[in-house]
């Protein structure tokens, strides 16, 4: 079904991605019930290992694991031994000793989840909850799920769905995972950013690229705005937040260029007034809150598919 770990959106085949989305659909029904709890992962231990602050992603994974009855422990960098200089390896060995069946890792260094999965420090499954400027596969999955609900009635893949991703692509793990996953699912992706915020070699990515937001808005089925950090000014990526917002921000004038059915997405947290104006953020077509809700269900699906069967170490012989 899936591999042992979920590290990159690139690891998912079309069938695997659809399996996750279909499983999410079934699990979404649980969220609508009065008893929002399943016994599926009873006795499994899931560790949230967060080296970066991200309350919303941490809570989303925590809730997903709890709804599946897993035991969840959270290991945050702040106030823990990690902030006292303990290495990733020693932290991993500690978690292994505690019997973690899965480690959900958020880390500021690109590739840290891959390292955790392959260095031989732990046996459990590793879920990438965002690594550096590399990937954030569950965000891409929840975005794909949201897109499928709005453009495909919640069925099948995303063939021909036109998605515009706008902003700091260079530093965005959300953009990387989305480009990979959405292309796997058949969507038509266009990246929009100033040239300084596009990675070298982006012309060979499986998507289109534009420097001009107004040009691509009318044809979009969905516009995904990326968070832009004002600190990027220090790296001379753009002259001022005002200029950025004028050229690449989504405001009411630009929203009017969009087709009436097109939706506005944002991985959050939003910088209102920078990449997205308040009236757009609060518009009916902005599905930011729904994305959060879908995030819990997608993460339940991932946890079920990674932990819901016999592990490769052979629980099956019990």
């Amino acid at each position: 079904m899936l591999g042992k770990h979920l590290l990159s959106a690139a690891d998912l085949t079309r069938d695997q991605a659809l399996l996750i989305l279909d499983t999410t659909s079934e699990l979404a029904a649980v969220t609508d019930r009065s008893v929002k709890k399943l016994p599926t992962l009873r006795g499994r231990t899931v560790v949230n290992l967060f080296f970066e602050d991200s309350t919303r992603t941490r809570l989303s994974f925590e809730l997903a694991a709890k709804r599946l009855s897993a035991d969840v422990i959270t290991f945050s960098a702040k106030g823990s031994s990690v902030s006292k200089g303990e290495s990733l390896k020693d932290t991993a060995l500690t978690l292994e000793a505690m019997g973690a069946d899965a480690v959900i890792i958020r880390h500021g260094a690109s590739g840290a989840p891959e390292r955790l999965a392959t260095a031989g420090w732990i046996d459990g499954a590793v879920l990438n909850a965002g690594d550096g400027t590399h990937e954030h596969p569950t965000q891409a999955l929840l975005d794909a799920y949201t897109l499928r609900r709005h453009t495909r009635d919640g069925q099948g893949d995303l063939s021909g769905v036109r998605v515009v991703i706008v902003g700091d692509v260079l530093h965005s793990r959300v953009a990387r995972s989305n480009v990979l996953l959405l292309q796997t699912l058949g969507a038509d992706v266009t990246l929009v950013a100033p040239p300084t915020l596009l990675p070298v070699g982006v012309e060979n990515w499986p998507c289109k690229v534009s420097y001009h937001l107004d040009d691509v808005l009318p044809d979009a089925d969905a516009v995904m705005m990326l968070r832009v950090q004002a600190e990027r000014m220090a790296g001379a990526y753009f002259p001022s937040t005002l200029e950025y917002s004028r050229m690449y921000g989504l405001d009411a004038r630009r929203m009017a260029l969009m087709s009436p059915d097109a939706i506005v997405m944002h991985p959050g947290p939003m910088n209102r007034g920078l990449e997205i104006s308040a009236d757009v953020a609060d518009a009916d077509r902005a599905v930011v809150v729904e994305q959060v809700a879908n995030g819990v269900n997608v993460r339940m699906a991932c946890l079920y598919l990674l932990l819901g069967g016999a592990s490769s170490e052979g629980d099956g012989s019990q």
Binding site: S110, G111, E114, R115, A119, G132, T133, P199, V200, G201
Partner: protein
């Protein structure tokens, strides 16, 4: 002094000879199996040697000279010492290494370079030639006492802030000018610091995909271009460390065509490995300058073959395990290379038929000795030449395992690889330092 004979060995891979050594020099070279000793002596065939080395089917080369070695002492004796680094060098077929200056304290005074030099003499396995820092504390602000280091017992001729670039153009110009007084050379680590802030790997499509900050080729090429023009302007010698890009090769080629006195080195890892390895996020492949594209590797190989790149230098950079047993961004840059340099060079250049052994000796022994102004190293194999020699056995294999290293560190990107051929014997100043692949120290009877 030890008297020695190496039987049946093929100098430069040519006709088999018996090579006799006494008093630290090559005493006689005669066709294999012919009577030994002085032709005038009637008892010649009965001559007894202190050491007899069998080397049938093996290739005899002048001892290798490395212009770029990190021995880590003083300061990081947990990763390497001058003694362990000397053993690693000997095992790799080297008889001379240049110890880089980025130690703690930095080798920026006569006191430190003399200490390094003396520790090398004590280890007595290779000539350890200290490299002096160009600027005080490698800070790039003020010239170190280059003259004092040059006239010290260590006789420093190579100066480098390696690890850091001498970025200030005025300082670079002054350093190039100043070393002319003692025939020195500035070895530049060409890396524009602003263009490589936080850089983790070669900048290109792969770095974009992996989300690792890029180290663009232009950051190397722009510095080399500036430096060759400075070297031309002040008519001094410039050496470019670890050239890693096809563009850098073009710049060096252009400079040489203009008659600029520039020499350049490439490392074995830049001649063999590509950035694709970084996709594993295994920091064993993290090195500075970073592994580049296949096109760069191919351009570097051609440049070594046509002499645009003068020498192969290891950039042997030992690190303790904890500095690689971590996530990519936290890992130290560098890989060890002394003990795998010759197997890699043999694979890339000899096995492929692109070079013969005489040409490879130019790149790994003769020219590095000349750039470093090292007497008694890199000499042609002939009677009367200093007996610094390496015997290469093409019939054996070098299997890279953590246990094989004499280096105190094992951060090699070649673990589990097997290379054809192996260093069999090494002779340093007329005395065996490696016999049958094992480092021997002190007096040894075979």
């Amino acid at each position: 002094m030890t008297s020695m004979i190496i039987r049946g060995v093929q100098p430069y891979g040519e006709a088999a000879q018996d090579v006799e050594i006494s008093d630290g020099v090559i005493a006689r070279i005669s066709p294999a199996g012919s009577p030994t000793g002085s032709p005038a002596s009637a008892a010649a065939s009965q001559k007894v040697f202190d050491v007899e080395l069998d080397a049938a089917g093996c290739v005899l080369l002048p001892g290798l000279v490395d212009l770029h070695t990190h021995l880590r002492e003083p300061g990081r004796e947990d990763s390497e010492t001058i003694a362990t680094g000397s053993r690693a060098a000997a095992k790799g077929g080297f008889t001379c290494v240049h110890a880089m200056a980025n130690t703690a304290p930095v080798a920026d005074t006569a006191g430190v370079v003399e200490q390094v030099w003396r520790r090398g003499v004590d280890a007595d396995l290779v000539d350890v030639r200290p490299v002096g820092a160009v600027t005080v504390g490698l800070q790039g602000a003020q010239l170190a006492e280059l003259g004092a280091m040059a006239s010290s017992a260590a006789q420093v001729r190579v100066f480098s802030d390696d690890g850091l670039c001498v970025h200030d153009p005025l300082l670079m110009r002054r350093a190039l000018e100043y070393v002319k007084a003692f025939d020195g050379v500035v070895a530049q680590h060409a890396q524009d610091p602003r263009l490589t802030e936080g850089a983790q790997m070669n900048e290109g499509e792969l770095s974009g995909r992996l989300g690792l900050a890029g180290w663009p080729a232009v950051a190397e090429e722009a510095i080399i271009a500036r430096d060759v023009l400075l070297a031309e302007h002040v008519d001094s010698r410039l050496h470019v460390c670890h050239v890693s890009t096809a563009g850098s090769v073009e710049v060096v080629r252009w400079a040489k065509a203009r008659g600029i006195r520039v020499t350049a080195e490439a490392t074995p890892h830049h001649l063999l490995l590509t950035e694709e390895l970084v996709a594993s996020f295994d920091p064993i492949y993290k090195v500075n300058p970073p592994l580049r594209r296949e096109e760069d590797v191919m351009a570097l190989r051609e440049a070594v073959i046509d002499g645009t790149i003068d020498i192969i230098a290891t950039d042997h950079a030992p690190h303790p395990r904890e500095d690689k047993d971590c996530e990519w961004a936290a890992a130290a840059m560098g890989m060890i290379g002394l003990e795998t340099a010759l197997p890699i060079a043999a694979q890339v250049f000899i096995e492929s038929g692109r070079m013969d052994w005489r040409q490879l000796c130019e790149r790994m022994s003769v020219t590095p000795a000349r750039i470093g102004r090292v007497a008694d190293q890199g000499a042609v194999i002939e009677v009367g030449a200093p007996a610094n020699l390496v015997v290469w056995d093409p019939a054996q294999t070098t299997v890279v395992t953590p246990a094989m290293f004499e280096s105190k560190s094992a951060n090699s990107p070649y673990l589990d690889r097997t290379f054809a051929g192996a260093v069999r014997h090494v002779v340093f100043r007329g005395r065996p330092t490696v016999v049958d692949g094992q480092v021997v120290s002190g007096e040894v009877a075979s």
